[in-house]
């Protein structure tokens, strides 16, 4: 117990923090956006056509990796990889997965914002995650 501005403050114990972390994590995985994300992820993983399209895109991206480093990708190659990416995005399972992922990430951001507002430090940045990487 410490005093701040004549108000007695109870300092959290490690045990209380660990327990609050467990409760929060359980509530997060029980939340509808996470459940939806898990479901859509499974559907996407089990969609052979979408997986094939992803593999084709990745194989092309790997082929062009070195060329991209030296900025020597031709217009035709650029169009080719774009075509593969658009084809991949055309699958419903992919769209649904990205939508669910976006919704879940928005929930995580909102949660982190509450923590940031309470402690006066930006949670994601403090933990080494900035918007750029």
């Amino acid at each position: 117990m410490i005093t701040k501005n004549n108000i007695e403050i109870e300092i959290s114990t490690d045990q209380e923090i660990s327990s609050a972390i467990r409760d929060f994590t359980n509530a997060l995985v029980d939340s509808p956006p996470y459940k939806n994300y898990e479901r859509k992820s499974e559907i996407f993983q089990n969609d052979p056509a979408a997986q094939k399209a992803l593999q084709e895109y990745r194989a092309k991206a790997k082929d062009l990796q070195t060329k991209q480093m030296f900025n020597t990708v031709t217009e035709a190659e650029q169009q080719d990889i774009q075509r593969l990416w658009i084809a991949f995005l055309g699958f419903k399972s992919v769209q649904d997965f990205f939508d669910a992922q976006g919704e879940f990430q928005a929930l995580c951001r909102a949660c982190a914002q509450v923590i940031s507002d309470n402690c006066g430090l930006d949670y994601a940045t403090s933990c080494g995650s900035s918007c750029c990487g």
Binding site: I17, F24, A27, L28, V114, I115, N118
Partner: protein, 126 residues
């Protein structure tokens, strides 16, 4: 435009409890006390403002290769002044400790969750 995300009630309860526990953890509480002291200390503020303004001036001169020995001496003197100010050092130290605490908490959340929570929570654009 920012879209407000609704946090489900059960999650909101657990989140607010966690946020409260973090707020009143020793490192974060110490940081908030040090921040308040720093905010209210005119001298500490002046030192940091002077240092920050001079660093900006030095960066501009650096681009044109115009930094003099005098500039470097002034920079060192301002840095020393900041390092010798108890309010500033205690603020900087407590901030490091509080960040360390948040990182530990994130490691614990991420290991239970199976994904890096901070990476999921990062803002999507600069």
């Amino acid at each position: 435009m920012t879209v407000k995300t609704n946090i489900p009630e059960a999650l909101n309860l657990a989140l607010n409890n966690l946020a409260e526990k973090i707020k009143f953890s020793e490192p974060v509480n110490n940081y908030q006390i040090a921040l308040e002291r720093f905010t209210q200390d005119a001298e500490a503020h002046k030192i940091m403002e002077d240092l920050s303004a001079f660093q900006k001036y030095i960066r501009q001169k650096q681009n044109n290769n115009q930094i003099t020995q005098q500039d470097l001496e002034k920079l060192r003197s301002l840095q020393t002044k900041a390092q010798e100010n108890k309010v500033i050092t205690s603020y900087a130290h407590s901030q490091e400790e509080a960040i360390g605490q948040l990182r530990e908490i994130n490691t614990e959340i991420s290991s239970l969750f199976g994904m890096d929570f901070a990476s999921l929570a990062k803002k999507s654009s600069c």
